[in-house]
């Protein structure tokens, strides 16, 4: 039996993490029998393993054990209600020092805000209702994009005592809010189509063409910025995948809507009857179809569903393997959830038949689930 030496805390008896420095003690995880700590790039779990079963553990977000925060509760870093001004200032700072995606998003937002302000002014001055409503729609969209930006910058923060899992969930939340807004938009476009259908008179506003074309151009620029995510079904590997995907779909849906308006104007000028109803209905259906996979994926993560990239058969197989151990009599309460795509958490409760073989069982179980991609596992061993 290997010796799983766990070095003792410098604080002695009741040391936890009351001090700000992370404890040097290794938590019990991922130790190979010969005592060396598991390195993520070693052959067994390597990226070049070529085995498709390991595709979900191929993610790059594996952190070396020593850097993992052990218990962040006592770090004294947790303030519940930071003032809004402080948060806005921190967002601005983060944008200036952020990576490419953050800066592009900031540029997109400022473009949109400028454009919608101009549109609002012109609409108010000339009394054109269509321009005002369009600018309102744009402003709502900008608000959402700002929330996404805030989520992107805030997600970098380290976990603290209140948010023990860190802030990455904000990105999933921002993606969910974007998807929800797009669903609302699709629904309201359908209502508008119905309205246009009932009211046979076509009160289509042709002056909106200029604004629609400009809107289309700005949104196509946004799609170009996030062109890596311009697909409907994406396999999410990291937290920011969901956020960026939602942003891309947001600008894509906006551009579809503008394109639909242009198309409707053109068809009307050609004399096609009910062009508006057709185009609005088409746009509404298209946006709905495009946004649904993202909505389901983000909803699944927020609902504490089991990690989507791990099939149920894999879980059952692991369960059988654990139960097949001779010391284990039963496995109860196995629960898993996904914090963000790429980081799965689980807890397990095992009934062990007597003796002091706890360590080998723990080690085996941790290894088994680490293969599936579940890095944070808490295993409770109860002796019968």
């Amino acid at each position: 039996m290997a010796d799983f030496a766990v070095s003792s805390e410098p604080n002695g008896g009741t040391g936890s993490s009351f001090t700000a420095a992370p404890a040097t003690q290794d938590s019990f995880k991922h130790r190979l029998p010969d005592g060396e700590t598991q390195r993520p790039w070693s052959g067994r779990y390597g990226i070049d393993s070529g085995d498709r079963r390991f595709s979900f553990s191929r993610n790059q977000s594996f952190k070396p054990q020593l850097l993992r925060n052990d218990s962040c509760i006592g770090t004294g870093n947790s303030v519940r209600n930071r003032s809004v001004l402080y948060q806005m200032a921190s967002v601005l700072l983060a944008v200036r020092s952020g990576n490419r995606q953050v800066r592009r998003l900031a540029l997109l937002i400022s473009l949109n805000v400028a454009y919608s302000t101009v549109e609002l002014m012109i609409g108010l001055l000339t009394g054109r209702v269509g321009l005002v409503s369009d600018s309102f729609h744009l402003t709502f969209g900008c608000g959402l994009l700002t929330f996404s930006l805030f989520a992107m910058t805030a997600a970098q923060k380290k976990p603290d005592g209140i948010y023990t899992y860190g802030y990455k969930r904000l990105e999933v939340l921002a993606a969910f809010t974007n998807a929800l807004f797009l669903l609302f938009m699709s629904f309201s476009l359908a209502v508008e189509a119905l309205h246009a259908f009932i009211q046979d008179e076509s009160e289509h506003k042709h002056y909106l063409i200029v604004s629609a074309v400009t809107n289309l151009l700005v949104n196509l620029l946004g799609v170009w910025f996030f062109r890596n995510y311009a697909r409907v079904n994406i396999a999410y590997r990291k937290a920011e995948d969901m956020n960026c995907h939602s942003i891309c779909l947001h600008v894509l849906a906006d551009s579809i809507r503008s394109a639909g308006l242009v198309l409707a104007s053109w068809l009307l000028s050609l004399g096609v009857e009910n062009a508006e109803v057709l185009c609005l209905g088409l746009v509404s259906a298209a946006v709905f179809v495009v946004i649904l996979p993202l909505f389901r994926a983000t909803g699944g993560v927020l609902l504490q569903q089991v990690p989507a990239n791990v099939p149920t058969s894999a879980f059952n197989k692991c369960l059988r393997q654990v139960t097949a151990l001779e010391e284990v009599s039963e496995v109860t309460r196995s629960r898993f959830w996904e914090l963000v795509p790429g980081r799965a958490v689980g807890s397990l409760s095992i009934l062990v038949k007597g003796g002091e073989n706890g360590h080998s069982v723990l080690h085996y179980v941790h290894e088994l689930y680490h293969d599936l991609g579940i890095q944070d596992l808490t295993v409770q061993t109860d002796h019968v």
Partner: protein, 410 residues
């Protein structure tokens, strides 16, 4: 197990709640099966009664809403007034909010599946989130319409009509708010007896950790043997020091739990209530605007200002709930649990060296889970210490879904 001194007299009290289901492995503290329900029979019943009473309230509110909406639609078509039809559409949004809340309430009672290992409790939170987004959306639409009214100032704004229609809407909303918010008297009596016994059960189960490992097993064995039967074993002749505080502790806890339950509304009912409250605030705003325009038709800008102010008020009422929802969705440590004290208390237990990876999070408002790794001294008794830790957490912080990984320091 054999050398523990058995206490001499036991008083066994049996409350049979539901017909017994699968009997578990004897001596096991946990329900059988790899994926079992998130809550045990006690909380299931509490949950189910709370859920059904909330659903009843919401159903009545929906029916009332639909009736009023039908009345308004008929009246609006007859009088050929756009304002009344707009208010009917507003009531339609109320119905939508109630429908979302009803669905969330119903869905959160679904059984856990292999893909949803914690059950569907989160649907409550997501439903409340969607509901609040709806409130924000509606406030935005109202502001937009107020601006439109200013642009299209062709003078067709009838102040008197605005006033009466919104007054009617206000009355409807107030009736529904009273119905949704009035929680204290009715739904409590049915669950009251259940409640008290469960309190006793909790406090008795876990106050015996200092001497009776055997007792603990015995209690829980009797408790979980048949799922529906909750057996409380009152130990009358336990040691002196544990008798006095036992009684006070359980009394204090039952009193405090009652008051807490009074304040805590189901989150979906609360969000529907917020929706209705927001609507009545908006109605007041429209009434004020209508009255001013009726009085002085040239002050149209007042309408816009009123709408803006009242929209901001409505948004302010939703902020607190939005913050709670966000905190649950971000898996943060719940506000009512003092995590630092918990960690310190755990470290103070005998045999515990350190605590790692302590995570406390809530699956929905009120259901808290905890997971941590505990490092113990090489000579400590792991089983005993595990019971100690779990008992401490359940006793002091009332967190019942706890997973502790015991590691031995070597």
């Amino acid at each position: 197990m054999e050398d523990q001194a058995p206490s001499s007299s036991h008083l066994i009290e049996v409350n049979i709640d539901v017909p017994s289901t699968v009997a578990t492995v004897s001596g096991s503290k946990f329900c059988g099966g790899a994926i079992c329900d998130f809550s045990d029979s006690k909380t299931n019943i509490k949950d189910a009664t709370e859920r059904s009473s909330s659903m009843q309230k919401l159903l009545i509110a929906v029916l009332l809403c639909i009736i009023f909406m039908a009345v308004e639609v008929i009246g609006g078509i007859k009088a050929n007034s756009l304002a009344i039809l707009t208010d009917a559409a507003h009531l339609l949004s109320d119905v939508a909010a109630f429908a979302i809340s009803l669905f969330s309430l119903w869905a959160s009672g679904w059984e856990a599946t292999p893909r949803q290992s914690y059950g569907f409790f989160r649907i409550e939170i997501l439903g409340a989130l969607v509901s609040i987004q709806l409130i924000w959306l509606l406030a935005g639409i109202l502001v937009y319409e107020a601006i439109l009214r200013i642009i299209k100032d062709s003078g067709e704004v009838n102040g008197w009509l605005m006033f009466t229609v919104s007054a009617f809407g206000l009355v409807v909303n107030i009736i529904m708010a009273m119905m949704l918010g009035h929680e204290h008297g009715h739904a409590h009596h049915g669950g009251h007896d259940d409640h008290d016994h469960s309190d006793h059960d909790d406090s008795h189960d876990h106050d015996h950790d200092e001497n009776h490992h055997n007792h603990h097993h015995e209690h829980t064995e009797e408790h979980f043997h048949c799922h529906g039967v909750s057996v409380t074993s009152h130990n009358l002749l336990s040691s002196e020091d544990s008798k006095e505080p036992l009684l006070n502790h359980s009394e204090a806890k039952s009193v405090s739990k009652e008051t807490k339950k009074h304040e805590k509304r189901n989150i979906n009912v609360h969000s529907a209530y917020l929706h209705v409250l927001g609507d009545s605030i908006q109605s007041v705003g429209v009434m004020v605007g209508g009255a001013i325009i009726w009085y002085k038709p040239e002050w149209k800008i007042i309408d816009l200002i009123c709408t803006l102010i009242f929209s901001v008020i409505v948004l302010a009422t939703t902020i607190k709930m939005l913050r709670n929802i966000l905190e649950v969705l971000m898996e943060s440590t719940p506000r009512e649990i003092d995590a630092t004290r918990l960690e310190k208390g755990l470290c103070d237990l005998d045999g515990v060296v350190a605590i790692h990876e302590l995570h406390i999070w809530a699956i929905t408002v009120g259901k808290v889970l905890l997971a941590c790794h505990v490092t113990i001294t090489p000579e400590a008794n792991a089983e005993y210490l595990l019971d100690n830790v779990i008992g401490y957490i359940k006793r002091e912080y009332n967190i019942s879904h706890v997973t502790i990984q015991i590691e031995r320091q070597q």
